[in-house]
Each structure stands twice: as C-alpha cells, then as structure tokens.
Symmetry: C3
Subunit: 668 residues, 3 copies
Amino acid sequence: MTVGVCYFPEHWPRQRWERDIEQMAEAGLEYVRMAEFSWGRIEPERGQFDFEWLDEAIELIGDHGMEVILCTPTATPPKWLVDERPEILQEDPDGTVREFGSRRHYCFNSPAYREETERIVTRMAERYADNPHVAGWQTDNEYGCHETVRCYCADCSNAFSEWLADRHGDVDALNEAWGTTFWSQQYPDFEAVEPPGPTPAEHHPSRLLAYYRFASDSVVEYNRLQTEILREINDDWLVTHNFMGHFSTLDAYDVAGDLDLVSWDSYPTGFVQDRREAEATVEELRAGDPDQVGLNHDIYRGALEQPFWVMEQQPGDVNWPPHAPQPADGAMRLWAHHAVAHGGDAVLYFRWRRCRQGQEQYHAGLRKQDGSPDRGYADASTAAEELFDLGPVDAPVALLHSYENLWATNIQPHAPEFDYWTHAGTYYRALRRRGVQVDVVPPERDLDGYAAVVAPTLYLLDDALATRLEAYVEDGGQLLIGARSGEKDPYNKLPDALQPGPLAGLVGATVAQHESLPEQVPTRVGYGGDEYEYRTWAEWLDADDATVQGRHRSGPADGQAAVVDAERGRGRVTYCGVWPGRELADALVGDLLERAGVTTHAPLPDGVRIAERDGHVWVTNFTDAPVSVDVPGGAAWIVGHERVGAYDVGVLEGTLGDVTVTRENSEP
Amino acid sequence: MTVGVCYFPEHWPRQRWERDIEQMAEAGLEYVRMAEFSWGRIEPERGQFDFEWLDEAIELIGDHGMEVILCTPTATPPKWLVDERPEILQEDPDGTVREFGSRRHYCFNSPAYREETERIVTRMAERYADNPHVAGWQTDNEYGCHETVRCYCADCSNAFSEWLADRHGDVDALNEAWGTTFWSQQYPDFEAVEPPGPTPAEHHPSRLLAYYRFASDSVVEYNRLQTEILREINDDWLVTHNFMGHFSTLDAYDVAGDLDLVSWDSYPTGFVQDRREAEATVEELRAGDPDQVGLNHDIYRGALEQPFWVMEQQPGDVNWPPHAPQPADGAMRLWAHHAVAHGGDAVLYFRWRRCRQGQEQYHAGLRKQDGSPDRGYADASTAAEELFDLGPVDAPVALLHSYENLWATNIQPHAPEFDYWTHAGTYYRALRRRGVQVDVVPPERDLDGYAAVVAPTLYLLDDALATRLEAYVEDGGQLLIGARSGEKDPYNKLPDALQPGPLAGLVGATVAQHESLPEQVPTRVGYGGDEYEYRTWAEWLDADDATVQGRHRSGPADGQAAVVDAERGRGRVTYCGVWPGRELADALVGDLLERAGVTTHAPLPDGVRIAERDGHVWVTNFTDAPVSVDVPGGAAWIVGHERVGAYDVGVLEGTLGDVTVTRENSEP
Amino acid sequence: MTVGVCYFPEHWPRQRWERDIEQMAEAGLEYVRMAEFSWGRIEPERGQFDFEWLDEAIELIGDHGMEVILCTPTATPPKWLVDERPEILQEDPDGTVREFGSRRHYCFNSPAYREETERIVTRMAERYADNPHVAGWQTDNEYGCHETVRCYCADCSNAFSEWLADRHGDVDALNEAWGTTFWSQQYPDFEAVEPPGPTPAEHHPSRLLAYYRFASDSVVEYNRLQTEILREINDDWLVTHNFMGHFSTLDAYDVAGDLDLVSWDSYPTGFVQDRREAEATVEELRAGDPDQVGLNHDIYRGALEQPFWVMEQQPGDVNWPPHAPQPADGAMRLWAHHAVAHGGDAVLYFRWRRCRQGQEQYHAGLRKQDGSPDRGYADASTAAEELFDLGPVDAPVALLHSYENLWATNIQPHAPEFDYWTHAGTYYRALRRRGVQVDVVPPERDLDGYAAVVAPTLYLLDDALATRLEAYVEDGGQLLIGARSGEKDPYNKLPDALQPGPLAGLVGATVAQHESLPEQVPTRVGYGGDEYEYRTWAEWLDADDATVQGRHRSGPADGQAAVVDAERGRGRVTYCGVWPGRELADALVGDLLERAGVTTHAPLPDGVRIAERDGHVWVTNFTDAPVSVDVPGGAAWIVGHERVGAYDVGVLEGTLGDVTVTRENSEP
C-alpha cells in the first residue's frame, strides 16, 4: 500500500524542483503523477517539441527512489491547435461551440482530434519508452468532466449514424426496435438520425438512450486508441485512467476493459456538497460521507475485481464545491486508510503544491504556494508510514449497478426526486451499516461467489439476464431486487408483459400499478410486524407465486402488496416495490444477510464504519465523537487502539466477527 | 351523454384490433378518436399513401356500432418532410431551430407547411368523404402545446409585417397607436417590425401585445385552412379541435368561431401540479381541483354557448406532471359526471391502452399494455352506463374572460405573483362555492340574459365596451368589476384619463394610486363591518359618484377607499380595487348574487360541488370524506343516494334550491 | 441646494408644455433634464434633423427662470441606424445579437457607432452651443445598464487584442503575467486572446479580470469621445453622467475623471428589493435603506471629492423592481434631505409626468398621466423650499473601495454568499451607525487627511499600495483591514508570499488557512472579552509581529488567531480575518474610531441616521416610529423640531457632538 502525489514541475522554477522532490521522498511518497495538462508546454508550436524539462523532472524523481506515472496530455489541446483545426471543438445541443479557455474542449469523435491524439501520444510514449522511472500511464484526465461525454457536433452526428447502422443493420430494424410509430417518428435512413437537439417537447426515450450509449462508447473507443499505442510501445507499462466520483455519463466498466488498473479521484468534502440529495452535516463538511466515497471505491474495485488506486486524493480545502471548509484535523490521513480498507493499493494526493496561476489557485496542495507544508502534508506522511501490504478484499455481497439503468431512469425519472444514485445508495448504506464488504458490479458479472446479491433496480431487462438471476437463486443465492425492475426492454420500450417482465417468474408477482409521490403525501408500508416510511416511488404488487411480506398502509394503495418473497430451488428472492426509507432498507438488508449467513456487525452509528481486508479490520471514524472498539480476548492493534477518536482510524488484526464498535456515551 | 376513447391501432398488431374494439363496445363506449399523429404511417414517403390499416380499423369500429372521430395528422410532420423542407420548423427568439424528434415542430406561418397541410388534409378527407362511420374531424392536436403558438422564424417575421400593415395601413399610424416615441423606438416601415428577439432590456409592451395577438391569429388562420377543406369535402361532418386546460397563448374563442363543436383535454391531477399557484393537497393529487377543471369546462362551453366535449379525459396516472400519483378509486368516473354537470355531452378517455413505445409509456390507458383492464376501465364503463341525455346548462351568471387581458397583464404583471388565472380563479371559486353555474365568456358577448356579471379584470378597455357595460347595468344588471380594470387602451398604452378610464363614469370613482406588495407586507381592508385580508395588488380609490363600501386598513393606504359601488339605472355596479382573499371574494360575490336574486347554496366545503343541469342536480365529492345531501320532501335519485362517499357522485332530479349538502361530522 | 426634474416634452402635445413648465416653476424647481432618448425624434431619418421642438421646450424653461441639462441621445440609436449598420449591436458570449427594441443596444467598441456618436453629439452640441439656458450636458444615460458593459462581438475581440498588446507589448509577457502554463492555456499571439465565450469549465481568472478591465476601459474611452466634443464646442458647460446604484461592471472613478460633476440615479425602494442580500423589511419597502443609498452617495461624492447630484430621484412607485409598494408619506422629501446631508447639491426627480407609452408606464412621475399632481409633487415642492446653500461635507473617515477588487472577488467568490458589496456594506453600516461621514474612495487616493481608514478588502495588491498604506499608518493613521486582503497580485494570480502578501510586514501576520462556510456551520470568534458571530469567510492567522486581539472559538479553527493588531510608528493597524457579523463590525469600528479620536454618536437605531454638513446636522428617520433629538443647551432648528416623526427629517445648526437621538419608548 503506497502513497504518492500529483506534481506539476512546469508551474515552478527549475531550481525549486530538487527541494520539492526531496520533500516528497522524506514524506515517504512512492509515486509521482505528472504531465496531464502539459501539451502547450511540450509542444509550444506545431512540431516544436520540448521534453527536456520533463526528462529532468523524471530523472530527479527516479534519483530519489520514486516512480513516475505519466499522463497523455490530451485533455487540453493548445490554442495553436484549436486555431488550426477548430472542428475539434465540442458543440452544445443548440450548436453553441465550447470554446478554448478551460479544458476538455475537444470532441471524442473528431477525426482531426484522433489524428492529433495519435501523433502526440506516440511522440510522448516513444520519448519515455525505455525510461526506467516511468511505471505507467494515465490516459488523458477525467474523461467526461464538465459534461463533455455528450457532444452534438457534425462529427458526432456522422458517427452516431454509423454506430446505429452497425448495431441495427437496417433502418427498419431501428424503427422497430425503438418503436418510432409514435408521433410519426419513423426514420427514412440512418443519416436522418441526429444527435438529440432542441425540440418543442421531450425526446423519444429510445433515441436518447441510444445517444447516451453511443456517447459513452465514443469515449471507450477514443481511450482504446490511446491504450493501444501505449501498449504497442511498451507492453510492461501499467495503463490506467482516473475516473470521477458518482460520474453518470460514462460507463466506467466499459472503459476499464482496456485498462490494467482502475483509478479514481476522491474529494470527500466536495462530494457531500455537490453530488448528493441531502444537505451536508457539519461533520460531513469536515470529512465527507464514508458511504458516498465507499460506493465509488467499490465501483472502481468492482470494475476489474482487483485493487484500485485513488489517483487524486483531496489534500485540504478545494476550489470547486460551493463552499471550502477546512477538513477536520487528520481527515487527509483518514481518507487514505478508508481507501485501503476498501481495497485501494495506492493513494496519490492532488496536488503537491498550491498553484499560483489559473483556475485552481483556491485548491490546496500538500505544500502551500510558498513551499511551506500545508495541513495535508503531515497526514500524508503519517499515512505513508502506517500503511502496509495487503491482499485483496473478499466481499460476500454484490450490489448490481448499471450505467444503462442510470441513463434510462434519468431519461424518464417520473418524479423530480427519482435519482438513481440516491436510490441505489439507500441499499448500499444499509449494507455498509452492517460492516459488510460489497462488490459493486454490473449485472452481467458472474455472481457465483456471492452469498447475497442486492439489485436496487434492474430497469432495463432482457431474458438472458433474467435467466442468469434465476440460476443464481436456484443455486442457493439470496437475492434482493428493488423497485422499477423489469420495467423496460433494452431499447427503453415497455415489454409486452407487465413489470417485472422477464423477472415475473422468478419474483412470482407482477406490478399492478406504480405511482410517484411528492413529499406531502403520507407513504407507509408494513413489513415484518412493523410500520415503515417509504418515499417517492410505490408499486402495488399482485403476488401469484410469492409470499406477501409487506403491504401498503396509506393512500389508494392501502392493503396492496408492497414486498414479496419466494423460495426458488435452494435460494430465495425478495422484491421490494417501494423506495425504502432508511429503516426499511435496514430491515430488508438485515433479513437478507441473515438468511445468507453473512457475518455482520450490529447497525453502526452514522459516520462510523468498519471494514475487513486480508485478515485486518479497519475502524474509520468520520465523526466528531470518539468510539470504543471491543475485541473479546484482546486485539492486536496495528494502528491506533481501542478508543478511536474524532476523525481517527484504528487497524487491528482479525475479522469482522471479532469486533464490536460503540459510540461512547450512547444509550445502551 | 356519451363516453368514448382515443385509440391508436397503428401501435398494435392488427390481430389485436378486433378484441380491443369488442372490449370498447362492451364498455358502452360510443366514439373512438384516431389518427392524430399518424402522418408517418399514412404517408411513409412522399406520395406513397397507406390508408388500408385505417380503413380496416374504422370498419371494425363501425361494425361494433361505434362512430369515429378522425384527426388531421398535421401535429407531426414526418422526418422525410422535415428533411425536404426544413424551413417549416419553428424558431426560438434567439434563432435556435426547434428540431425534429418530438411533436408540433412546425411554424403556423410557413407557406411550405400550409401547402403540405392542404395536401395531406385534402387527401385524407377525400379518402373518408363517404365513410358512414366517420362522424367528424378533430383538426390537428392541441394547438400551441409545448409553447408553440409563438414562433420567431423569417416566415413569421414577414407575416407579422403584413399583419401589421393590414391593421394599421400606414406605419405612422402604428407609431402613433403604440407610442414609439419612447426610447427612440419609431419604426420607419412595417418591414422593420420584427418578432421580439433578445434585447438588452424589456420589450415595448405594445409591440409584445401585437406579437401575441398576431401569433394567436396565425393559428386561427391555419386552423381555418383545415376547416374549410373539411367542410368543402363533406359539410355534414362535425368539425372540432381539442383545446388544453388553462392554456394561455391562443385565443380559444377566436379558434372556436370556425368549429362546430369545442372540445378539450382534461387532466385533473396533472393540472393541480403544473398550472396552479398553490401546492396540491393530498386530496387534489388524488382527484384534482373541481374549480380548476370547472373553469375550463365553463370556458369551452362558453366559447360557442353550447355543450362541449372532453376529447381527452385522464384515465389514470399520467406521464407529464412532476409526480404521478394514482387517482383515487372512482375518480375517473367522478370526472365524467363532473364534466356532464358542467355541460359536457361526451367524455372520451385518453387512451385505450398504455403505449409500449415512445414518449408516453408512462401514461395509463383504460387497458394496460398487456391488454388487461386498468383502473380506469371499470370507471369508464360505469359512467357510460349511468349517463343519460340532457339539455344544455342554463347559467344565471357570466364571468368575463379575455385572452388579450391575460397577455397584457402577463407582459406587465408588476408583481411576480400577479397571475391572471389565479386572480380570475379567486372570483370563479367564490361563485362555484355557492353552487351557481357560470358562463365564462369574452367581454364582447351579449350579457342580456345574465342576472349578474363578474369581470375579474378588464385591463384593456375601449369606449365601446364601457358603453355596453353601462347599458347592461342601466338595464338592471348586477356587475362586479375587479382590480386593474381600465388601466390600458387596446394598444397597451395608458389612456389620457386615470384608471378605470372609460369605466370611470359607470364606476363613479378613479384610482388615485396602485401598488403591488410582497407577502411580508400586511394587507387588510374593511368591508361590510368585517376586516379581510387581500393580496398582491391594491388600488386607492377616489369616489366622486359612488358609495365607499370598503376601506384600506393597513400601510400608507390606511383610510383610503378600496371597494365602491353605485346604482346606475335599474342596476348596480361594484368595483373592488384589491385582489381579494378568499373570504373577501366570498363576501363580494355573496352580496352580488343576493342583490341579483340568483338562487345559491350556502358556501360549500372545499372540494364538494353541486351543479344544476336541465332539471337535475349533481353532487360531486372530490374529497376523502363523505357528505350528506338533504332534500326536504324527498329526492328522486338517478345515481347514488343521500350519502355521497369519498370521490363519489350523486345525481337527482330537482334544482339547486332543493338541495342542502353538508360534510358529515362537521360542526353545525 | 436645488431641486429639479427630468422632462420628456416629446411625449406630450406641444400645447401642454407651457402649463407643465409653469407648474415646475411653481414647485420651486431649478433644473430640467431632457433629451436622453430623443435621437429618433431629433433625426427621424438619416440627415433629416428636427430640433425645433427641443428649441421651444428649452426656451419655455428659460422663460420660467430654470436651466436645462441636455443629454446626448446615444443610449438609443434609432431603427433606421440599426438597419443601416447592424454591426453596432452588442453580442452575448454565445454570439446571440442583442437586437433593437429596448435601449442600450450598441457596442462601445464599434467603430461604426463611434462615428455615428461623433456625428450626433457634434450636431446637437453645435445647435445649443450658445443657448443661455443650457447649463450643461449629461453624456448618454446610465452606461452599462441592463448588463451592457461587457460585449462579445467581433469589434470587441479586435479591441481587446489591441488593448492587451498596449498593456503587455509582447505576448510572452502576457503569458507570464497571467500564468497561462496551466491547462495549456498559452497564447501564441494577441489576436488569439478573445472575449471569454462559452467553455466546458470555468475561465482563467486572469483572462476574465483582463476582460472586465478592458470592458470598463472601453466605456471610459467612449465617454471621453463625447466629453471632448462637448468641451471643444463650449468649455463653460458642466459635463456629467448619471451613474447607477451599486453598479458593478463599470469603474465609476475612471469615468469620473473626464467629468465636471458626478451624478447618479437613486431609487431607494427598488434597491432594497433587487440589489441586496437581505429581504426588505416593511419599513424599507416604504422608504429604502439609508445606508444602502448612503454608500452610493458617498461613492459618487468620493469620486471627485466634491458635491454630487442625484440626477434621477425616485418620485413614487416605480416599474422595475419585483414589487411596487407606494413609498411612505413624505419619503420623497426625506430622500432629498438625505442626499443633501451626504453632500448632494441638487436632486432632480425622475420624471415629471407618468408616461403613457412604452416600457415605463408603471413608473410614477411628480404628476400623473392626466397632468394632476401625484404623491411626490408636494414632497418635491417642500424639499425645494426647505433646502439651502451649504459648503461640502468634511469626512473624518475613508472607506477604500475598488472596482477591480469587486471584479476579482466576483470571479472567484469561493462561496456563493461572498458578495463584495454586502461584505463592504458591513463595515460601512457600522460607521454610519455612529453618525460618522465617510468618503468612499479608491485605494490609490491620498489618505493624509483622514483620521481613520477602513479597507474592507484589498484583494489585489501590489508593493506600491502596501508602501502607501504603511506610510499612512506610520504617520499616525488608524487603519482597519478586512479579510481576503493581499490574496492576489494585480493580474489575479497568487503572489509568492502567503496572504496578505505585500501587507504582511505592516499587519505583522500571515494567513495560515482560509475557509468558506455555509450557514449551517457554527462560526464564532472571541474579541475584547466578548464572543461574536461571523459569517461565510474565515482566516486562521499566524501573528509573528502583532498582538492577537481575537481568536476563533469554533470548528477546526478553534484557538487560532482571527483578529490582530499592531502599532506602527504613530499609528496602528488592525487586521480582521473573518467577515464580521453586525455586532463584531460595530465593536471593531467603534474601537477604531475611538483610538482615532473621531467624534461619534452612540450606535443609532436601524433606519435612523444623522449626518453633519457645514455646521448643520441632519436627523433622517427612515422608520415608522418617531425619534427624539436632544441638544443640551438648546437647538436652532432649520427644518422640523426635536421630535422627528415617521419618515420625517430634522435639520439644525450644530455639529455631530451636540446631538443625541433616541427612539421614543425604547428601553433606556
């Protein structure tokens, strides 16, 4: 387990570099990422290359015993290139060009930009082909950041038509698959299908979904262009890309298929402010929400089912969220441990030093702009010292996540509050409250090894997936399926059969009605002898081959079935037709884990999490109050001790079942 | 009184049609509307027509004893037509083209589209000229939906210049009428007057009003193009158009002049969510607001002063409002009765069957997508059975409504909350709380037969209208005029005289000051010995030939006159210079009806309404609590009985004066 | 001290003029402003001039003993000119043209418009070169109103490149000054630097600041074009421009350098609604906020350090804020006195008569549209009678205000609530609560005469300014510096040194951390033995050569220094690293004034203000409750008496130290 940092030697005078790099080494850092926005520095005008500065920086890093992750600099084509070939720029749906002056101002489908990409990546990779200090490459930087996955330019229009022709062969097949005999939306040929521009009313949901798939595939294809060049030049390099948190327009699983390693950029106190429904608490403003961060760790670990890296770890206050509170003392260390507990193998802080120029002057580094240590520096050093080598995480539970379901429910949320991530997060949080490790994987993944599987929503569904889930249950799997599953076919049309469509046989019930409800409507269900709140979404179930475990107790739905379950072969499947409130999610997940025989902790306090990895248990405390860790028979503490203070961490040898965590002074 | 349905045979396999149509007949349906978005199916490429599918569907419907309303398919020009003649597309004010991919993507003023319209309407009408099962036609579909009345393309610019030249003759006359000697806005010629595009500051109110009038007139002209073709081909056809609820950009009275029948599309639980100021209550989310729906019934009945149709009646949950709660049990039947009580002669549910493809998959039908009955099916069947033939509604009161006043107050609301519909609705609701039938008619309508007239606002006013209102009162009419009346001349300029301008003689007072007030300001007036709240708008009146009936009791207005009245000949006129709160509106309307000798009920509970039509009384209960109906001497019940349950209806023989309705368990 | 009015004879029939002008004279008015939007009337088509109407109006005004301020009519180029030379129109960042139909639809950098401007200004000025009744000129009208300072057209792009070339000489110097080696933003030449258009992510802060400076400079240059023509034709004319309240995109100090007189347009009850963070109270809706208005008076007085004019004074209800409450009785008189107390020499009401046409029909005048007196007429007459001649204001305190700091903090507020005006207003209000006159001046101004100086924020800072502030303190000055000072260099980059950069020596401390905090986070500091709230912004200070006067008492900052001070030579400097709440601002400012030996009043009640000018004291009461004025030894009252009623004013001979004002019935 290692710690590293992101460094921009091009921002500082050359005479400063040696001291910077010495200080990195003193802190115990092992990796330095560089060059992701350096095209304008490397090639100040067409064909005039200047690599000497980068050669020297790499050499110095190597001299200090560290390794370099280089980046292809394609996220920022320089001005001379934009002026020469303006067709590389992206366009908004209404044709407005996204101009030069920030970053990510290129179209993934631009033939001109692919040509330029090939040229610069080849040149750069060849330069460092034999450099012993370069461990690997990050392609580009945060694909899709600033809403750039979906572009609406003429190149995209052509590429979309071709992509559709490849998938459907014949335009009649497309018309049939989408169902265009609605509002006279039949297409005469593939060329007639354009990116979805401004229209008087909403778009056809099948067209939108196809465009979202196409746009994501365009990034996959663009990334593959880079990975193939890199691999061809030096097949030993580790090739990665740095994904983002709760990112919604790009299928990370698809991109990951072309990578050796998945990494992502983690900014806990930013995420609680700008990508979550609930307002951040004061504690969350100081250290983030462990489950929000954890869900992303588990997605990116799940992508290749192997350890991930945090390529950018928040180092202190940052510039882009609405507010920039100072993190709690120790938070920067806590985050490194939390990442490792979730299966991270390396944590690189972004950035080494606060930048004096440009858009990120309000983003802290491990060092201040004058070079003196900032608050994160000691945390990073401590983490580097404390972390040790570990095997991978072994998760007993899988949570099924699919970008296509995210896109399709976004296209027709049917309620302003129906947010895919928040709904899935309800189930994820219930699992994590029990201390259980969770692989977040796509529905197509082999589920054999999992004692239990939670599918918050399987919105788009075909027979093949239904058959695989049936087999999982028949073979003894414990499956919990959430609302809106089986609503649509893969082209975003309703199937002939009532919801859950191909899953109806497995579930033993169909959805008689669904409704979406605003906050002012009372929403209650009974389950297991208790009454619970739910929110936003309700289905009324007709159980024909299942046991009713919960019934509605409010509104016109009163008395209708809401939760059913059924034994199938050696397993059991539960279908929950509402978006459960927190307590109902706890009850459903608790019952699932119990019948699956998964070891759990009693429900943990908010902000306190435990996690097991390779014979060690992490207790991470994201709150302002200390917790006590009780280990009958005594604990072997690697980090910390039985009292884990505010924003502190403890690591001990053992397994989840050995440990009991309680908040001090809490009621018994 | 009949019930029908909207059907899309083109969405389903031909082998299903016979069963669908049998089930319609079994439910007692009598009309089937079809083909309003079928252009792409009828003419898949230019000049290649396929009418056989429609022929067959019509034949089957006729075979089952039902009649067909066909629609011209012009709301959705197909893609091949758009690609051939892209100039038919609408444009936003900033020039953004509204592209293909939804519906209503054509400009009413496009010569190209008028040519295509003529071609397709003629072809289709000729096809069915002698078909005995086709009872009539709906032109297009929901003119103006998705903000499409106002277009800003080059064709519109030319047409606007011509429209202005026709009205003003000479550009100097336009400059004088609008008052362009303000901010140097003089126009050198008619060509120089363009649709109102993006400008640094707000537009000239006279130019805006002219553009809104022109845009509405363009739809009237376009619709007339269709009605003339239809009438020429078969003069026996019933020609209608389906208007929308609370629709604000098109003058429905003007369009109605070219129709035989006015119909509209009623979605009660959608309307309470997306076109009303107040947040919907839980009961309203389940059944709608009877006064919001009723105001529309009364507008469309008033348009031709004859019974209307509901061409689309909500059948269950729908896709377009923010939330999609399931309607209460029985609500779909309640709505049919409520429409009939307000003078509806037919109610067609939209749609027969939930659609599997395209934008409306989340819109229920009477049958589910698998063909099984949905919640509305039984309600529709029951309504079909219960309804019986009736003469027209005879309303003792008129409420004056004018689209030009709506546009002009929207242009200069002078307070964010000054909404024309909400203000007019305050008076309408007070009338309906007394069980009184109300014709909602334009101010130009002959008022002779009405015992009382309420004019919530007569914002734009000329001498001719003032003279007619004077005559109405002199002849014994009882008139109640609301705030902001007589503020402007018909070109949206202030008149020379102080407000209410030409009405000052009739009213006997002028407006000394007006003010608009945010919620935090106390707003009180005294009236008839009590003190009341008002909201948003206040006028301070100078009464020179009127009696002060109410005075301000707050703010700088304290002590100023707020409500005045005056006898004139055999009648009386009241002017209310504030936007009354609910209680003040009740008091003003109660006093008006009493002096007009109109039979009323005591103020009804919210959500409970009674209405008299042709010797029968309807009691419609839009609430969750039952009500009791007391008829001294006994009642002859046609539907239901003296206890009308939640979301239920009772119909008895008699008149308004015979009936007393009370909420059970309410305080005496 | 005189009163005047704005008049539009072109809006009224000629036969009315004489009576209007007589009534002005009867009211005691002395100045009449005219013609600011008259281009279309003066030149109805190219080269056809009609000045006779204006000649006649001026003659009539002169005949009645009043003087005329004429305006150049350039704010509204007529339609024929726009049609002939459409390139004069402004463009939005996305290229949308701001079209004809309102006002201010021209680009300051358009060579075509500068040519037309020269032509019309010359022609008009020559016409009245020898007219004895024309006292002077207002250039254009409210430069920049409706967000028109910043334009994005091709002319602006060229002008921006030239402006940059003039400032930097060499593009490498620009790249160095801005720091473009960030996200590959290096520019190959000056032509490549365009106005900031739509980009995927935020713009480079140095580029934005340069564009804002350039845009402001463009207005300065455009205004100079006009003032030079006017001065050349008649050097005796008074040349002014009417600025706006809380106006943020134009550097008024720069424009003022080319004027003889600074005037501005004051709309107190509009400003509390549309340019302030806090919701308006009921009293403020009736009379405005004296400190909000006062800050503007003091900026425009400070601009040339001489008396200013109110060129447009709100006359009653106005059309443009969200709501239009009627001002309190007497408010129009109160505002005139308040302006004079702050150093105003003339107050012209806008407008004479409510306009019947165009965009401002809902804007009151001193007369109603029918010519009868409106509420403001008596107030204006009374004010004209009461006001008398006075010498200038002598302020003991300066508050430093800089448009560049405003722009730069707007570019990177780092918290949605960080508003420059609100932050500066916190300190300004604390000063005014003590009855102290304040010059609001740019940081470059000579500070020698001031006993105390408050700098709410000195965000952009260079060594020269730091040296001048050091000298001020060394020489005995008392200086209070607020948060975010010295964060940036003049190009909007971080300096090498930690904040406050070049001020660190004077202050004796550096900023260890800063953070921005949303409302839900507790924010407390101790100061002088008490605990206070702060808001939005916190700095943690390292004091190496200063005394810690206040420490944080909340969050991770707990215990860190928040307020420090230090003696330097004969003076003292305080640095406050938080945005103080009202009470902390009172404490800081009170301590500052005390040590500076400035005479103050005890903290005044909200809405009650006193001000001293030339041996007289004004007591202005913007509240609904009367106040008592106690003057030991008796007062010589010029206006009013010792009881100043609601929205009333008292003027007496004396100085601030003589007077004690208390709210009646307030607790002792």
